[in-house]
Amino acid sequence: MIEPLLQVESLSKRFGALRAADEISLGVAEGELHALIGPNGAGKTTLLDLLCGLTEADCGSITFQGRSVGSMSMEARARLGLVRSFQVTSVFPTLTVEENLVLAVMAAQGGNFGCWSPPLDDVQLLQPARELLTRVDLIQKSALPAAALSHGERRQLEVGMVLATAPRMLLLDEPMAGLGPGGTVQLTRMIQGLKGSVTILLVEHDMPSVFTLADRITVLVRGRVAATGSPQEIRHDPAVQEAYLGRGDDA
């Protein structure tokens, strides 16, 4: 078996008496879409915080691309290609969708003190921006100001801007949160389109989209890994059903 892109070994984090992460081990293979589910307070967001470098683990190791990144800053991890997209969407509202992405591409390319030539005439910027717009399903909206986008579309734009930094692995924190059914379907389709080109660790409450998207699922319960496996295996795992899906929340 090839070494996974991201390998987590016995990662632990305590907040006082609360074991938010308790000896968590998991591996995510290159190109895989790995979903992280679990009841509220299971430690999903804590795990993402630990992975992206927002908080530091008490013990355990995180290996990304064969390098130990456990003590690196968030920026250093982002430079290696381990990038997190936050729950709160943050875009440039009065700029057009296209300008938002052009700006993100400019950030990735550097050399942006030019005062003369318009970036929107620059193929070097426009082409990658357009490709990203296609990938996040927003090419039809490229001329609209970002403020005119729906909530879900803004998420898509945000993901597009994160993708502009060419990440190896994307940590998505509840992208469907606060979206209506239509938005959820649309965003699921977009993430489906990203599968394969970028490795994704997806934290999500919306079970239908998790079971549609995931190659493998890890279930967290009270800071511990309760089960890991394919969607089929997870659906039929008795321990999981009791701890989590037993509430009749089955997909």
């Binding site: 440039f92 009065t94 700029l95 300008e99 003190f113 030019g114 005062c115 318009p118 801007m161």
Partner: protein, 332 residues
């Protein structure tokens, strides 16, 4: 894109009106209006330069008049020493700057001085945000105001009177027509450069910072540096407007730097529509015309002007520019 083109069209229309009005005034025998129009043009330049900071950079500066004043005093002091036959600067090692009535030299000195002080005060003010930024820009401007009031050699509170409009080879600037069209030429030059600037990579980053500074930082852009450069460039442009103003009225007053002047320029930007370049031009026109017209009827013209401005800010948030765009059709 269409909105952008319509903005271009509006700008061309406005400039065309500015170009055609003087001959019209002459036909009507109302030449005195030319001087008002010229002042509108120059204030328009000052307001458009503030628009770079305010509208595109999202920095609410209440000290822009300082740069106008620095420009005006550059012209005034050069001319003053020329009349006196003395040197402005007489430093060792041959660093001598004699007085001069050359307009080009005045423009050069004004751009350098206003740009330099823009860089200096900007480098401090831009470390603050919001209300603090407003107050600190205001404080710097008042500092310059009191500095020039205390300079007895340069007239103190009385300022400097100029004798004639200075020289530009090949042009008689004392001819109001020629001077007007020179100002118009400089304004057009500025608008062309500013248009390029705001649509460039630099401009896009600047507008991004206006929208969402945190996100721009997260993308890795050094927001402070972009803003500082923008601030200094706008200051330099205001310096140019100051020179033109000094020569137009043949008078330099410290009142030009008073914070109420900064406020007036800001009102022009907001009234006309910020972030549009052409809006501030319209704002300058409307404000100065209103002042002129209302002053005929009552000396308390501010009582009328104040509520009017409040109404505009409340009901036409994008100013005159926004209204014109609405009349010209929806965005798409």
């Amino acid at each position: 894109m269409r909105a952008f083109l319509r903005n271009e069209r509006l700008m061309l229309t406005v400039l065309l009106v500015f170009a055609l009005l003087p001959p019209l005034f002459q036909l009507m025998g109302q030449e005195y209006l030319l001087s008002l129009l010229n002042r509108i043009l120059i204030y328009g330049l000052a307001a458009a330069s503030l628009d770079l900071i305010l509208g595109y950079g999202g920095m609410v500066s209440l000290g822009h008049a300082a740069f106008l004043g620095i420009g005006a005093y550059s012209a005034g002091i050069l001319a003053f020493h020329s009349y006196e036959g003395s040197a402005v600067l007489n430093w060792p090692m041959g660093l001598v700057l004699p007085g001069s009535e050359s307009l080009l030299l005045a423009l050069f000195v004004a751009v350098v001085m206003a740009g330099f002080f823009g860089l200096l005060t900007g480098s401090i003010s831009l470390r603050t945000r919001g209300m603090h930024f407003i107050m600190i820009t205001l404080a710097f401007a008042q500092m310059f105001y009191y500095l020039f009031i205390s300079l007895d050699r340069y007239g103190g509170e009385d300022g400097i009177s100029l004798f004639g409009r200075g020289h530009l080879p090949g042009f008689d600037l004392n001819n109001d027509f020629i001077y007007y069209y020179l100002c118009l030429f400089i304004l057009i030059l500025f608008l062309v450069l500013a248009r390029r600037f705001t649509t460039s990579r630099f401009g896009l980053v600047l507008r991004g910072g206006r929208d969402n500074e945190q996100r721009l930082r997260a993308l890795g852009f050094p927001v402070y540096r972009y803003r500082l450069i923008c601030y200094a460039l706008a200051a330099a442009a205001a310096g140019v407007a100051g020179v033109l103003m000094a020569h137009q009225g043949e008078y330099v007053s410290p009142g030009l730097m008073h914070w109420t002047k900064s406020g007036e320029i800001m009102v022009m930007v907001l009234l006309g529509g910020s972030g549009t370049l052409v809006g501030p031009l319209l704002g300058a026109g409307v404000l100065l015309l209103l002042e002129e017209v209302l002053a005929i009827y009552t000396e308390h013209w501010m009582v009328i002007l104040g509520p009017f401005l409040i109404l505009v800010v409340l009901f036409a948030r994008n100013g005159i520019h926004g209204l014109l765009m609405k009349i010209g059709g929806r965005d798409d």
